[in-house]
Symmetry: C2
Subunit: 121 residues, 2 copies
């Protein structure tokens, strides 16, 4: 993302929480508008940049790049560049990201159930 201001209350709060709460830490790593959507698409197979872009409705190339870069830095996706022209790059889940799959499956079920509950008031 854009660089963050050092020593803002905002950043200090976030850092403190991330250190002291593993759960919040985990959620931060997969938080943001697009990350989970991207990870889901990669659940079954590796995909090229353009395949991701086309499968995710509404995402811009800028956002896709930003999210992928962060997740690469965080060890959630592996990026492979092929020395071809035009360029070819693909992305896949790392081992630790794959460990999330059963968890997000449960979360997803919970979400579906909650959505129905709320819609009934």
């Amino acid at each position: 993302m854009g660089k963050r201001k050092e020593n803002s209350t905002n950043l200090l709060n976030e850092s403190y929480i991330m250190e002291s709460c593993d759960l919040t830490y985990a959620i931060c790593k997969i938080g943001g508008r697009w990350k989970l959507l991207i990870l889901c698409k990669l659940e079954n197979r590796k995909l090229r940049f353009s395949e991701l872009r086309n499968q995710i409705n509404g995402i811009t190339e800028r956002m896709l790049t930003l999210q992928l870069r962060e997740m690469e830095k965080d060890g959630l996706v592996k990026r492979t560049v092929y020395a071809e022209v035009p360029p070819r790059v693909d992305y896949e889940l790392t081992e630790i990201a794959k460990e999330l799959v059963p968890i997000w499956a449960k979360l997803s079920k919970w979400g579906a159930k909650h959505k129905i509950l709320v819609s009934e008031f």
Copy 2:
């Protein structure tokens, strides 16, 4: 939070994702800086507003109120007001929020593991 602008691309994207992806929907419900921290504190017992404030380092009364209000609206916490002076209000998890507990326990473990992995490069 503050009211959101209607029909901004931002809002439209969010709405679309929330509808089409139960997982992102779920994460949004418990996303934001403070929500999970609050929910965790309520895992074992109901707490008063001031107890929450004191147990959560760095949160302001404004933020605590905002997050609690949203979670109340989303059916994650139950708010009970006692007709006393000075006022007394307490908060507890709802049934559907309690269903999240085993899930967030796993996520938390994942977070702890990931934190170590990343710290080793």
